[in-house]
């Protein structure tokens, strides 16, 4: 939120997470075409776009689950492109995957303990997760299958938080959840950011993304069609970038940066 207040990003800082010229193929299909982005400390950076735009592929490539043909991923200036997902996680790139992907035969607490196994030192502990989401303590010995979708999503976030990530990747938190639950989950974001995290999120729900993001990028068929702060972009621009109505890419961020 702070970065949004000063109208974009501080130019002199090193980005905490940088993606440079990332191209990813799924077989013959080019899923991502030369995507670049810089996420600065404390930011909430949102990737928006329609189904199949390549949002999840981008996040999964940053987490290390997909290989890129060209391009690099840098964490605080260090190249992590060659690292396997578990190495990236231990260095602080932690993802909450699409569809939550909790460990079904483990209890809530065991899920959190797995998340904490290779944790970096930091403010988040299982105890802190229980303090932040107070319903969880009473149900810690339950199987995750017995939880509602929103509760499962919260446990998935908790499992990522206890690893004390530097960059938290959130893939489609709203998927399959009622709007009121989505509101509540995104409502917890400021509390999470206050502990010094940086967030890169992918969201199909554009209005939700605009509400929480300090900066955003819109993808269409693997290409960047719009970049900027929520204050900079108009609804028409977002619509055009989202559906690809105008031929030319409206790279709005370019203007405000230089």
């Amino acid at each position: 939120m702070t970065a949004a207040a000063n109208g974009g990003r501080p130019d002199n800082d090193t980005p905490l997470l940088e993606v440079a010229d990332l191209t990813v193929y799924h077989g013959q299909l080019r899923a991502l075409d030369a995507i670049s982005l810089k996420v600065y400390p404390g930011e909430v950076y949102a990737i928006i776009g329609a189904n199949g735009a390549g949002k999840s592929t981008l996040l999964r490539t940053i987490a290390g689950l997909h290989h890129s043909t060209t391009g690099r991923v840098l964490l605080d200036g260090a190249d992590v492109t060659a690292l396997r997902p578990e190495r990236r996680a231990r260095q602080g790139i932690v993802m909450v995957p699409e569809g939550r992907r909790l460990f079904g035969s483990l209890s809530v607490e065991e899920n959190l303990k797995v998340g904490a196994t290779y944790a970096r030192p930091g403010p988040w502990t299982i105890e802190r997760v229980y303090e932040t989401f107070d319903w969880m303590r009473g149900r810690r010995s339950q199987r995750t299958a017995q939880l509602s979708g929103g509760e499962q999503q919260t446990v998935a976030i908790g499992r990522a938080l206890v690893a004390n990530p530097r960059v938290l990747l959130l893939d489609e938190l709203s998927l399959g959840l009622a709007p009121v639950i989505v509101q509540r989950i995104y409502g917890m974001l400021p509390q999470i950011l206050a502990t010094g995290l940086t967030v890169l999120l992918v969201e199909q729900d554009v209005s939700q993304a605009l509400r929480v993001a300090s900066r955003l990028q819109c993808l269409l068929e693997g290409r960047t069609t719009l970049e900027g702060t929520p204050a900079d972009v108009t609804a028409e621009q977002v619509e055009a970038a989202y559906f690809g109505l105008t031929g030319a890419a409206a790279v709005l961020g370019e203007g405000s940066e230089s």
């Binding site: 578990e86 996680a89 483990l106 797995v114 998340g115």
Partner: protein
């Protein structure tokens, strides 16, 4: 009384079958690998035991301290190399690769050790001795010890999986490899640990078998793997205690079959196996009920 004796023998033999089966079940449960070389690896353990005892002249029981860790290390590296690269190509490939491994092991053993059978510990009181309950029921020391070892192994595995942090990782990886990676876990290493445990248990099984019966290069597939399979299926896929129950059911069926007619021993076991497949295909202990 002969029948009571048959049932007692059957129950005790179940311990040996559980040692054959629990590693097979563990590897299937964690990495969805049906290791067709499982029995042959047990036989390898037996031959390693024979070799260690012959070369070093250490007491039979001490050789376990060498054989079990050696097999566990072999298990780890087998998983990290051959089985993992097969897994990367799909679960079906693991069937072909482990079948190939089974053939290679069997033929290599025939080549080096000939088809002559060998045994371990012949003449030891542990192997030959027994005590009698009444006039008809005989309790062989060896089977009693094997049964106790099997129970201890299962208790140990259960404790490891449910209480230790590494066991928790094993279960997490079994649930969702990718999500485990995102939590920083190297699932290949975790698979390796599971394979090491599996081969450690089957090494115990192979050594026990070479004391209980005799060892020959084909025993791996025609006895150990087959009995392990039957025990796993009767007990329930992926269930640890199910392997003991399945082993006991198989053991009792075989002994009762042998009571009726000595040539019916194996047939009776497989009939019960078929019966379970028809009536309760998920096995006697279904996975959900167990955990």
């Amino acid at each position: 009384m002969a029948w009571v004796n048959a049932i007692v023998q059957g129950v005790l033999t179940g311990g040996l079958y559980a040692l054959f089966a629990c590693g097979l079940s563990l590897m299937f449960g964690v990495m969805k690998v049906v290791n067709l070389a499982h029995g042959d690896l047990a036989v390898v353990a037996g031959y390693v035991g024979v070799g260690v005892i012959t070369v070093t002249n250490i007491p039979v029981l001490w050789s376990f301290l060498i054989v079990v860790p050696v097999m566990a290390v072999i298990g780890y590296f087998l998983q990290r190399t051959l089985i993992q690269s097969a897994l990367n190509r799909g679960v079906l490939t693991t069937l072909i690769v482990t079948l190939g491994l089974s053939m290679v092991i069997e033929n290599a053993l025939l080549q080096f050790f000939t088809a002559n059978s060998r045994g371990i510990g012949a003449g030891m009181t542990l192997v030959t001795g027994s005590f009698s309950l009444g006039s008809q029921v005989e309790l062989p020391y060896l089977l009693l010890v094997i049964f106790a070892v099997a129970v201890a192994v299962l208790l140990g595995l259960q404790w490891f999986l449910s209480r230790s942090s590494y066991g928790r990782l094993v279960r997490a990886v079994a649930d969702d490899q990718e999500a485990a990676q995102l939590s920083g876990a190297d699932y290949r290493h975790v698979f390796g640990i599971a394979a090491a445990l599996a081969l450690g248990t089957v090494a115990l099984g192979g050594m026990a078998y070479s004391m209980y019966s005799t060892l020959d290069p084909t025993a791996g597939t025609d006895t150990i793997l087959l009995f392990a399979f039957v025990a796993v299926v009767i007990g329930g896929l992926g269930s640890l205690w199910g392997t003991l129950l399945g082993g006991i059911v198989l053991g009792i069926a075989q002994q009762i079959g042998a009571q009726i007619n000595i040539s019916d021993e194996l047939l009776a076991g497989y009939l019960v196996f078929l019966l379970v497949l028809v009536l309760r295909p998920q096995g006697l202990v279904s996975r959900r009920a167990q955990s």
